[in-house]
Symmetry: C2
Subunit: 205 residues, 2 copies
DNA sequence: TGCAAAACCGACCGGTCGTGCTATTCTCCG
DNA sequence: CGGAGAATAGCACGACCGGTCGGTTTTGCA
């Protein structure tokens, strides 16, 4: 007697994530969400004690998907440069959304959208977002550290600096692809990464 | 008999820009704006035919200030590498807000906040925003082009690619400084720019 | 199959949103 | 200083917001 509710809740979170990616977690409203799900607003609300709780549930869902689609698959590659490359490729793929089928257009990374939505809005959602963003740059820095240890990257490389620039490339990609609708955005991002990667690599001899 | 109204309108736009930088152009509301200005909501509204008109007025004001504080001052430097450097320094300074006095904390660039606010929200505001963002990356690319022409940058440099990465550094700075509150953010941004600049520079001989 | 609990609904609350309309106050020119 | 017109206030509107509550339907174990 605990099945149906959980399924509905999952369905709500799924749809909410979708809407939140477009309108932001604040811009998403319970009424329209319920309407889209063909559910009453109160029925929807009953699954969460507050809108904030729903927002955090949505954020957790996004984190889970990100882990599954980007972070975990990178581990199949050997430590070092290949894993760093894989991380970038997975990240780029993440920008085109959940579809496993071929998809051309860039939907963007929900975390980047949420980052600017909450960088001036204190609260539990922001705290959770900060935590997961720190985790993410930590993951990138860790991969870079391993690449140094493997001898693929220069010994004097600053992994945190690498992660900073890595992140910048993704943000520029999102900006160029979504707002300015530059068809060359993805190519530019790859070129930027190639430069970052080359600079980080250990000299051939 | 055209004085007072214009002064009030300017005051409204000033305050609105301030609020919009924190809450976004959508999150900013006429009621609270009027309250802060000690003005009636209808009195405020009378200066603009719609909220969208106010939003665009705010955007125009931001563009004007950006031009004054970032784009125009760069022209005092000679064409080429010095001008590119100046552009970056002015841009970094722009992130700390309007204060001419020393200010430590990063307030962030309103355009970057607005970019993610409107990348999924069609309308006149978005159109204006896209236009000014294209102008901005065009300005950066133009400066890079001149640096190539002056022989400071490599002849085979892609100025648009340079502008893409330039923008990415600023976005990473905003993210690191505002959301994650990383005290090293500005240092990281400068280091990233130094690397970008060095890669773009023509070989010494 | 009975029945308690879980799931869900519809109506409704106070509040706030953007936006009109009308009346009053203020400002500046003649 | 008087009056025309700009500037502003007062007020109300319809819509929608997040959230509450009492009642109805559905579910799944005993």
């Amino acid at each position: 007697m605990v099945r149906k509710g959980e399924a509905t809740r999952q369905q709500i979170v799924d749809t909410a994530l979708q809407r939140a990616s477009e309108l932001g977690l604040e811009g998403m409203t319970l009424g329209r969400l319920a309407e889209e799900l063909q559910i009453s607003k109160s029925g929807l609300f009953a699954h969460f004690k507050s809108k904030e709780a729903l927002q955090i549930a949505v954020l957790d869902e996004a984190i889970e998907r990100f882990t599954e689609r980007v972070v975990r698959p990178m581990l199949v590659k050997p430590r070092g440069a290949p894993r760093v490359r894989e991380l970038f490729e997975r990240w780029i793929a993440w920008f085109q959304g959940e579809t496993d089928t071929a998809e051309e257009e860039i939907l963007g990374c929900p975390f980047l959208s949420l980052s600017s939505e909450y960088d001036d809005r204190p609260g539990a959602v922001r705290d959770a977002l900060v935590r997961c963003q720190k985790d993410w740059i930590g993951t990138v820095a860790k991969a870079a550290t391993l690449a140094v240890r493997e001898g693929h990257f220069r010994a004097d490389l600053d992994p945190e600096q690498f992660a900073f620039e890595f992140k910048g490339i993704g943000m520029a990609l999102q900006h160029a692809a979504k707002l300015v609708a530059d068809p060359a955005a993805e190519r530019r991002a790859r070129a930027a990464f190639a430069r970052l990667f080359a600079d980080a690599s250990a000299p051939l001899q």
